[in-house]
C-alpha cells in the first residue's frame, strides 16, 4: 500500500489549526469558539501521531501524548460548558462580547 507522504498530513493539520484559529477569533458564540479550540487541539493530535509514525515507528510516545490531549480536551470542554452555562444564567446570552466586565 502506498503510504501517504508526511507533508500531506502536516498540510491537513496546519489547515485544521488555522481554521480553528479563525473560528476562535471571528465567532462570537461561545459554543462555536469552544468547538474551534477543539479543532486546534486535534490538529496537534494529528501532528503527534504523524511524527510518531513517520519518524520513530518503533516507539509509542506520540500516541500516548495524543491520548492525554484527548482526555484533557474532554475535561476542558466540561469546564468550559459549565462556565458558559453560568454566564448564560447571568447574562441571558452566550455572546462573548456581552461578557466584558472583567476589565480595568
Amino acid at each position: 500500500m502506498n503510504q501517504v507522504p508526511l507533508s500531506h498530513i502536516l498540510f491537513v493539520s496546519t489547515a485544521l489549526f488555522f481554521i480553528g484559529m479563525y473560528g476562535l477569533f471571528t465567532r462570537r458564540n461561545m459554543i462555536t469558539m469552544l468547538m474551534s479550540v477543539e479543532l486546534i487541539l486535534n490538529s496537534v493530535n494529528i501532528n503527534f501521531i504523524a511524527f510518531n509514525k513517520y519518524l520513530y515507528p518503533e516507539k509509542l510516545e506520540g500516541v500516548f501524548f495524543s491520548l492525554f490531549i484527548i482526555a484533557i480536551a474532554a475535561a476542558e470542554a466540561a469546564v468550559a460548558i459549565a462556565i458558559i452555562i453560568n454566564l448564560y444564567r447571568n447574562l441571558r446570552s452566550i455572546d462573548v462580547e456581552d461578557a466584558n466586565e472583567m476589565k480595568f
Binding site: 476562535l24 477569533f25 469558539m33 476589565k103 480595568f104
Partner: protein, 632 residues
C-alpha cells in the same frame, strides 16, 4: 569561701512576682497580688541580710574584703575576644546596696498594702514594683559594664511606668515622659562612655577594666594617648559615664525630671525617687571609683563641683516650695549632691555611708508624707497644719527623720554628713563652706516642712484611726533604721581600697555643722511654728532671690526655651521639611510614575476574551520566530 549561688534568687524572686502578677494579676486585682509581691520581696530581703551577714563575716579582720563572683554565665559570644557575660559580683558596696534596696523595697511593699488599697490597678502596681526591684537588684549586682547598662535602662523603664501609674492624669503622663526623655538623653552619654572605656580597655568586666586602667598596661597607654579636643579618651569616657550617672541621680543641670516625678504614687517616690534608683548614679561612679581616682584630677573636680552646686541649688529651691513632695524631692537632690561631692572629695566611704543612711530617713520621710497625704487628700502644705494630734505616730517618725537629715547627733544623718564634711574639708575649703551652708539650709527647710505640717495651727485629735497597721509598721521599722543606721561600723567594711579604716572620732569638728543645723531649726521654728506674717516678710526681704528660687531658678523655662524655640525651630523644622519633601517626595514620585504608566497600558486589559486570545497567539508567534532565529 561560703557558697553564694543562692544570690541569683535575690533579684529573680521579684522578677518572678512581676511575671506572675503581670500575666494574671489583672484577673485577681487586689486579692492576692499584694501578698505575692510582698512575699517575694520578703524572701529577697531575708536572703540579702543573710548574704551581708555571711559576706562581712567572712572578711578577714584586718585586710580587704575580697570581691567574689559567685555566678558567671556567658550570654553572647561575638568573637573569641569579645563576649558579654552575665555575672554577679559581691563586694562591700554591692552587698550594702542589696540590703538597702531589698529592705526599703520590702517596707514600701508593705506600706503599699495599706496605701494603695482599693486602687483599681492594684495588681499592676505590684507587678511594676516587682519589676523595679528586680532591675535595681540586678543593677547593683552587675559584674560588667554592659550588664549594668541593661539594668540601668530597666530601672529607667520601670520608673517611667510607675511615674505614669495614674495615666489618666495629664501631669503624671507629662512627668513620666519628661523623666524618660531627660534620663534617656543622659544615658546616651553613658553609652558612649561605656563604648570608649571598653573599646580601649578591651574588656567589659569591671574587675579587669579597673585593673587595666589603673596599672601600667598597653590598654592604659592606648586610652591616655588617644585624645579628642585635647582631652584624653580616658577623661572623656569617665566624664560621659558621669553624665549618665548625673541624669539618673538628678544632678544639676539634668535634675528637672525629679520634682515632676513626684506625680507617681507616694510609696513609689519613697522607693525609686528617694532611696534607690536615684542613687544609681552615685553607685555607678563608686563602682568605677579606682579609675576616677587614678585618672586626671579634673574629672573628680567636675564631680565635686557638680555635686556641690546641685546640693546648694536644690536646698535653696526646697526652702521655697509649698508642695510637700516637691520639698522632699529637692531635698533628695540636695542629699545626692552631697554624696556626689563626697566622691569628688575622695570621701568614698563617707559617700557610701551617706547613701546608706539617707535611704532610711528619706524613705521614712516619703512614707510619712504618704500617710499625711492619705489623710489630708492634698499635697499642699497650706492644707495641712496641726496634724500632731491627729497623726501622733507619723509625727514622731517624721521628727526622727527630720533630725536625722538635719544631722543632729546621735541620729544617723549626723555621722554620715560629718564624714562627708570632713572629706570636703581636706579636699577643698570652698566646697566645704558650701556643704556647711547647705547643711544649715537642710535643717531649715526640713523643719519648715515639719512645723508647717504638724504645728502652725491648733491641732485637734479626732476619732479616726491614724492609719492601717500595714502603713504604721514600715514607719516604725524605718524610724529605727534612721536612728541606729549611724552606728553601723561602716568604715570598717566599705572603703575605697578595701582596707578597714578606724571610724573618725566625733570631736570638735562636729560643732560647726551641728550649730548651723540648730540655727536652721530655730529659724524655721521662729517663722513657721505659729501662723503669722513672718514668712511673708522674710520672703519679701529676700526679694528677687526668693522669686528666683520659687520658680526653681527658671531652669525648666530655660529648657523649654532651648527645646521649643531653638531645637524645634532650627533642627526639628528642617528635619521635618526634609522628611516631608525629600524622603516622602521620592516615594510619592515612585508612586506617581507607576500610576502614570499603568494608566497608559491599562487599555490592554479590555475584558474581551478574544483580545486576550489574540495577545496569546501573538506571543506564541513571536516566540516561535525567536526560537527559529536562534536555532538556525
Amino acid at each position: 569561701m561560703p557558697n553564694y549561688a543562692y544570690i541569683a534568687l535575690i533579684p529573680l524572686l521579684p522578677l518572678a512576682a512581676f511575671v506572675v502578677l503581670g500575666l494574671c494579676g489583672r484577673k485577681y486585682q487586689g486579692r492576692w497580688s499584694g501578698g505575692v509581691g510582698t512575699g517575694a520581696v520578703l524572701i529577697s530581703a531575708g536572703l540579702s541580710l543573710w548574704t551581708a551577714y555571711q559576706y562581712f563575716g567572712a572578711c578577714p579582720a584586718d585586710a580587704a574584703c575580697l570581691p567574689v563572683t559567685p555566678l558567671k554565665v556567658t550570654w553572647l559570644t561575638f568573637s573569641p575576644g569579645l563576649s558579654i557575660d552575665m555575672s554577679i559580683i559581691l563586694d562591700p558596696i554591692s552587698v550594702m546596696m542589696i540590703v538597702v534596696v531589698s529592705f526599703v523595697s520590702l517596707m514600701v511593699h508593705i506600706f503599699s498594702l495599706g496605701y494603695m488599697k482599693g486602687e483599681s490597678r492594684f495588681g499592676t502596681y505590684y507587678a511594676f514594683l516587682g519589676l523595679f526591684t528586680f532591675s535595681m537588684l540586678g543593677l547593683v549586682l552587675s559584674g560588667n559594664i554592659f550588664e549594668i547598662y541593661i539594668f540601668w535602662e530597666l530601672v529607667g523603664c520601670s520608673s517611667f511606668l510607675l511615674i505614669g501609674y495614674y495615666f489618666d492624669r495629664p501631669p503624671a503622663v507629662a512627668a513620666a515622659k519628661k523623666a524618660f526623655i531627660v534620663t534617656r538623653f543622659a544615658d546616651l552619654g553613658f553609652l558612649v562612655g561605656i563604648l570608649i572605656l571598653s573599646f580601649h580597655a578591651e574588656t567589659l568586666d569591671f574587675h579587669t577594666l579597673i585593673l587595666r586602667l589603673t596599672h601600667p598596661s598597653p590598654q592604659l597607654a592606648s586610652i591616655t594617648t588617644a585624645s579628642f579636643l585635647g582631652i584624653s579618651m580616658l577623661s572623656w569616657g569617665l566624664v560621659l559615664v558621669f553624665i549618665g550617672g548625673a541624669g539618673k541621680s538628678a544632678l544639676f543641670p539634668l535634675h528637672i525630671w525629679l520634682p515632676d516625678a513626684m506625680e507617681g504614687p507616694t510609696p513609689v517616690s519613697a522607693l525609686i525617687h528617694a532611696a534607690t534608683m536615684v542613687v544609681a548614679g552615685v553607685y555607678l561612679v563608686a563602682r568605677l571609683y579606682p579609675v576616677y581616682a587614678f585618672s586626671d584630677p579634673k574629672v573628680l573636680q567636675l564631680v565635686l563641683y557638680v555635686g556641690a552646686l546641685s546640693a546648694l541649688l536644690a536646698a535653696i529651691i526646697a526652702c521655697t516650695q509649698t508642695d510637700i513632695k516637691r520639698v522632699l524631692a529637692y531635698s533628695t537632690m540636695s542629699q545626692i549632691g552631697y554624696m556626689m561631692f563626697a566622691l569628688g572629695a575622695l570621701g568614698y566611704t563617707a559617700s557610701m555611708f551617706h547613701l546608706f543612711t539617707h535611704a532610711f530617713f528619706k524613705a521614712l520621710l516619703f512614707l510619712c508624707a504618704g500617710v499625711i497625704i492619705h489623710r489630708v487628700h492634698s499635697n499642699e502644705m497650706k492644707d495641712m497644719g496641726g496634724l500632731r494630734k491627729r497623726l501622733p505616730l507619723t509625727h514622731g517618725c517624721f521628727l526622727i527623720a527630720c533630725l536625722a537629715i538635719a544631722g543632729i547627733p546621735p541620729f544617723s544623718g549626723f555621722f554620715s554628713k560629718e564624714e562627708i564634711l570632713l572629706a570636703a574639708y581636706h579636699a577643698n575649703k570652698f566646697v566645704y563652706a558650701v556643704g556647711l551652708f547647705t547643711s544649715g539650709l537642710t535643717a531649715f527647710y526640713m523643719f519648715r516642712l515639719y512645723f508647717s505640717v504638724f504645728w502652725r495651727r491648733e491641732g485637734v485629735g479626732d476619732h479616726h484611726r491614724e492609719a492601717a497597721f500595714t502603713m504604721k509598721a514600715p514607719l516604725v521599722i524605718l524610724a529605727a533604721g534612721a536612728v541606729f543606721a549611724g552606728f553601723v561600723p561602716f568604715s570598717r567594711w566599705v572603703t575605697y581600697d578595701g582596707r578597714p579604716e578606724e571610724p573618725h572620732a566625733v570631736g570638735a569638728f562636729a560643732i560647726a555643722p551641728v550649730a548651723l543645723a540648730l540655727l536652721g531649726m530655730l529659724l524655721a521654728g521662729f517663722l513657721y511654728r505659729k501662723e503669722s506674717n513672718r514668712p511673708a516678710k522674710a520672703a519679701a526681704a529676700f526679694g528677687a532671690l526668693y522669686t528666683f528660687a520659687y520658680h526653681k531658678f527658671y531652669i525648666d523655662e530655660v529648657y523649654s526655651f532651648v527645646t521649643k524655640k531653638i531645637i524645634f525651630n532650627f533642627i526639628g523644622r528642617p528635619a521635618a521639611w526634609i522628611d516631608r519633601n525629600i524622603v516622602d517626595g521620592f516615594m510619592d514620585l515612585l508612586a506617581a510614575v507607576t500610576a502614570w504608566m499603568s494608566a497608559r497600558i491599562k487599555g490592554f486589559q479590555s475584558g474581551k476574551v478574544q483580545d486576550y486570545a489574540l495577545y496569546f497567539f501573538a506571543g506564541i508567534a513571536a516566540l516561535a520566530v525567536l526560537f527559529i532565529y536562534i536555532y538556525t
